[in-house]
């Protein structure tokens, strides 16, 4: 590992890629605005401001990507770095969304207060449920935890889908957002909040993984029995991992809810969990940039190719309708051919190319991504 | 009969065997000696293909074993009696033996011979393997390797955890059936090894360091002290 000295030069060198990306993202709304003549501040129509134009479109797209990326990064922390498989991650996503939605729409609280309360309550609820679920089944073999999370998430999904209070399957719209954060009138603020959340989550996860705690996470992933034999309370570490992951997923759910101004039971559906799983693996399990690339790449691809129609013999496939199928196929191909994902495989190729000393070769790919930022 | 020629075996990242060579003459009882963790079990597993070597060559009766799967190697006439017996506890003695047969009627042909060697098994025939004592399980494990036509037996630490009386019985049985078979033995217990084997190979820290006739080894205090620790 590195020596303790952190010089400015070194920090800049290892993080240059991230820095450039963030700077680009900060400027993006304005870049698009310049290129297309649209305004990132919206257009005034009478007394209101509405969001129209390419700049607004791209901001919305990217906010969704930020939410999705945070969600997938949280899944990667749990699965990619700690080796805990969950098939119910959407539970936390939905909890975040519904907590926010219900506090805003179903209470008479001041919207700003409701927002603050939503953040706190989401952290508590997601953390608590992660803790309970973990205590119940993390002691058992991994497959039991996976089954348990699947069952719980399904139950909640079905239940919420029939809950008359929240309009059951149709869900409900959010119309009480304070103006400063309402994406319909001021998307730029939400955009920067989303960007901040994304960068914060990225750095936070990297910090944890590179810390002693993170080393234990990875030891658990490699061989839990050995980790326990060495003396670590693996249960506690796994609990920490899933609690953090759950909280982050809840945050992503809130962001998603605010952006779309609609909350529905599909936020609890298994398709979000599947997204997280697929994107983590396709991007690269146990890497830092993998989930980002997986999530952003897949979502952007899906959005931009949505209306393409592929002729197939006697029928034709509209990409948008069959996206899950296509994604599934990509997933299977990746698992078989590039099990380490795009970023993971890239890292290994780079390693072999650079011919690092044998010592570095035995460490997991996660640690080698330090320089990739 | 079996020639292991300078094999290197890795388990994960760990280089367990380096250039290990073992020669097992036909009809002999050859023993692999060495301290704990020296690589004796790994050598057997490499022969059987359970931990295939990355380099080096293994030939059995003139045929190369490299690249074959364990079940193919076993089918060539090699019987394996692993450490800790590995009998099927939920299956009966009869089922344990039945499953070991490779050709039709293998069990019927050899059952008398097996009962002759291990009379206890006759009495326990219908009981689940888990009900047997340690010594009886060891007998079952060895008997299992005698059901099909196996010319070479790989036996890993048969005396481990057994009472001296049982060990005596086991040794007598091994001596008897090895008259028309070849045996490659791994044995920590030097007393047992010296009385049973006629050839030895010493494995030390992943290397084969010495080999020869057992008759010579028993007098070589220096060698014994150096590689086998407390004799």
């Amino acid at each position: 590992m590195q020596d303790g000295r952190v010089t400015v030069g070194r920090t800049l060198r290892t993080n240059w890629f991230l820095g450039v990306l963030v700077a680009f993202l900060i400027a993006l709304p304005f870049i698009v605005a310049e290129l297309t003549g649209s305004s990132p501040y919206g257009i005034e129509r009478g007394s209101r401001i509405i969001m129209r134009g390419e700049s607004a479109f791209w901001m919305a797209l990217l906010i969704e990507v930020f939410a999705l990326t945070v969600f997938v990064m949280s899944y990667n922390l749990m699965f990619g770095f700690t080796g805990v498989i969950s098939f119910g991650h959407a539970l936390f996503f939905g909890l975040g969304g519904y907590t926010l939605g219900m506090l805003l729409q179903y209470t008479a609280l001041d919207p700003n207060l409701a927002l603050v309360l939503a953040v706190l309550l989401t952290l508590v609820l997601t953390g608590l449920s992660a803790l309970l679920i973990g205590l119940a089944t993390l002691r058992l073999r991994g497959v039991y935890f996976a089954i348990f999370t699947l069952a719980v998430a399904e139950m909640v999904w079905i239940f919420v889908g029939r809950w008359a209070v929240t309009n059951g399957e149709d869900g409900f719209a959010i119309d009480r957002l304070p103006a400063w954060i309402d994406p319909s009138s001021n998307r730029l603020t939400l955009y920067y909040i989303g960007l901040f959340l994304f960068v914060f989550t990225f750095l936070f996860i990297r910090r944890i993984v590179n810390s002693p705690t993170g080393s234990v996470f990875q030891a658990i992933r490699e061989n839990e029995d050995r980790a326990r034999a060495i003396g670590y309370h693996t249960l506690r570490y796994k609990l920490v991992a899933i609690i953090i992951a759950g909280m982050m997923a809840g945050g992503a759910g809130m962001l998603h809810g605010i952006l779309n101004k609609k909350i529905g039971p599909e936020m609890f559906s298994v398709s979000y969990t599947v997204d997280a799983l697929l994107m983590t693996i396709i991007g690269g399990v146990g890497t830092f940039t993998g989930p980002v690339i997986g999530a952003a790449g897949l979502h952007l691809t899906e959005t931009l190719t949505r209306d393409i129609v592929i002729p197939l013999g006697f029928t034709s496939l509209r990409v948008g309708d069959s996206w899950l199928l296509i994604q599934g196929l990509i997933f299977v191909i990746v698992v078989m051919v590039f099990p380490f994902g795009l970023v993971g495989t890239w890292n290994r190729l780079r390693m072999r190319f650079r011919r690092r000393p044998a010592q570095a070769a035995t460490k997991s790919s996660g640690k080698n991504v330090k320089s990739a930022g | 009969m079996l020639t292991v020629d300078a094999i290197d075996t890795f388990i994960g990242q760990f280089h367990i065997l380096e250039g290990v060579s073992v020669e097992v003459p036909q009809g002999s009882i050859t023993v692999l000696l060495g301290r704990n963790g020296a690589g004796k079990t790994t050598t057997l597993k490499s022969i059987l293909g359970l931990t295939p070597p990355r380099s080096g060559k293994i030939t059995f009766q003139g045929k190369t074993l490299n690249g074959r799967t364990p079940y193919q190697i076993a089918s060539m006439g090699i019987g394996y009696v692993p450490e800790h017996r590995a009998i099927f506890k939920e299956l009966t003695v009869r089922e344990n033996l039945l499953i070991a047969g490779r050709k039709r009627g293998d069990l019927e042909r050899n059952i008398d011979m097996i009962f002759d060697l291990f009379p206890d098994l006759k009495r326990l025939y219908a009981l689940p393997g888990g009900n047997l004592s340690g010594g009886q399980q060891q007998m079952l494990a060895i008997a299992r390797a005698l059901v099909p036509e196996n010319h070479l037996l790989l036996i890993d630490e048969p005396s481990e955890g057994l009472a001296p009386v049982i060990i005596e019985q086991l040794m007598a049985a091994i001596k008897r059936f090895s008259q028309d078979r070849t045996v490659l033995l791994v044995e920590q217990n030097f007393r047992v090894a010296s009385r049973l084997a006629d050839h030895y190979v010493i494995i030390d820290d992943g290397h084969s360091v010495a080999s020869g006739a057992m008759a010579n080894l028993v007098h070589d205090e220096a060698l014994i002290q150096r590689y086998l620790g407390v004799a």
Binding site: A151, R162, S322, G328 | Y71, Y80, K89
Partner: protein, 341 residues
């Protein structure tokens, strides 16, 4: 079968099973309000449900015991079976019209079942050989892979047959024939399934106990590597078991189609219920799976019957399989006959 010995070793387990059984019966009787007809129908429905679960769970259990893989795609195979059986039997509905070649609906149905089994087995073969075999060294990915494949199969079904659920409309001879128990009617078809189901259960049990391949499978469940070292091609056995497991699940779906139709949600529901069954029975134990399937089936049917009451609502029926799974995992995850792995 060493029944007496089994009873001796696990007396407490059998007591527990009896207890659960009686509890379900009692609750069922209570929820039927003492109406013997309703009670009897619920029981029969429960047995029927249990048989269907068994068809899915048997494969799940053996595959898990032998290969340490939880085949999440079992539910999808169940669905494929249902859709295929529906499609062949309803030449005007569905996606294919090949069924029109056969005029008699009963014959069409049989053909549909046969097709379901063949396609299920073939897909299972492709899945095991092509996708799972290369991943034996990485169990984490195997679990994830079967999950991914189940999604692909679901989407594939959706692409071929669309998202709207299919309701069975063809009248089969066995369906029309009814018999009466305590004044309520129950179709002969359902009864046939129950009887055939029991036969199948016994048949597989015999296969496992008496035949050489059965002994190999049971040995493999305990120690697959040793079986390999004995000169038996364990990988081929894996493939065989996997293929049979998938084919059985598809058969289950086909058999269920006449009264459940073909929907996109049945796969997941039956998967979770089957997982509940194999966890309750004890992962890797065939006897456990068989008994647990019946218990779960009975419990499920009872809960459905109970949720007919207005104050309970249909939500309870929908979440019963998951609820059972959660409860079992909380109380006794090793199951009735499971070893403490």
């Amino acid at each position: 079968m060493n029944l007496r010995k089994a009873l001796g070793n696990r007396g407490s387990t059998w007591l527990l099973i009896a207890g659960i059984f009686i509890a379900i019966l009692a609750f069922s009787l209570f929820s039927a309000g003492g109406n013997m007809g309703t009670f009897a129908i619920t029981l029969l429905s429960g047995l029927l449900r249990g048989m269907l679960l068994f068809l899915v769970a048997a494969g799940l259990s053996l595959i898990f015991g032998l290969m340490d893989i939880l085949n999440f795609a079992q539910g999808a195979f169940f669905m494929v079976g249902a859709y295929l059986a529906y499609d062949v039997s309803h030449p005007s509905g569905g996606a294919l019209t090949a069924g029109a070649a056969i005029p008699d609906p009963n014959l069409r149905f049989i053909v549909g079942l046969v097709l379901a089994v063949i396609v299920g087995g073939a897909l299972g073969f492709v899945l095991e050989r092509g996708l799972l075999r290369p991943l034996y060294k990485r169990p984490l990915f195997q679990l994830v892979l079967t999950f991914g494949v189940s999604i692909i199969m679901l989407e594939g079904i959706k692409a071929i047959w669309g998202g709207t659920p299919y309701i069975w409309t063809e009248r089969l001879v066995a369906q029309d024939a009814q018999f009466f128990v305590f004044g309520q009617q129950f179709s002969v078809y359902r009864l046939v399934i129950i009887v055939v189901g029991f036969a199948l259960m016994a048949g597989v049990a015999l296969l496992l106990r008496r035949t050489r391949i059965g002994i190999i499978i049971r040995a493999g469940v305990q120690d697959a590597e040793m079986v390999n070292a004995l000169g038996i091609n364990v990988r081929a056995v894996f493939t065989l078991v996997f293929v049979i497991g998938c084919a059985l699940a598809a058969l289950g779906g086909g058999v269920a189609a006449p009264f459940l139709g073909a929907t996109l949600s049945m796969g997941n529901t039956f998967l979770l219920a089957s997982i509940a069954a194999i966890v309750l029975g004890g992962l890797g134990s065939y006897e456990g799976t068989a008994i647990a399937s019946l218990l779960v089936g009975l419990g499920w049917a009872t809960m459905e019957q109970f949720s007919v009451r207005p104050e309970v609502g249909t939500v309870v029926a929908s979440i019963t399989p998951m609820l059972m799974l959660v409860v079992i995992l909380l109380l006794k995850p090793s199951g009735l006959f499971g070893e403490e792995r």
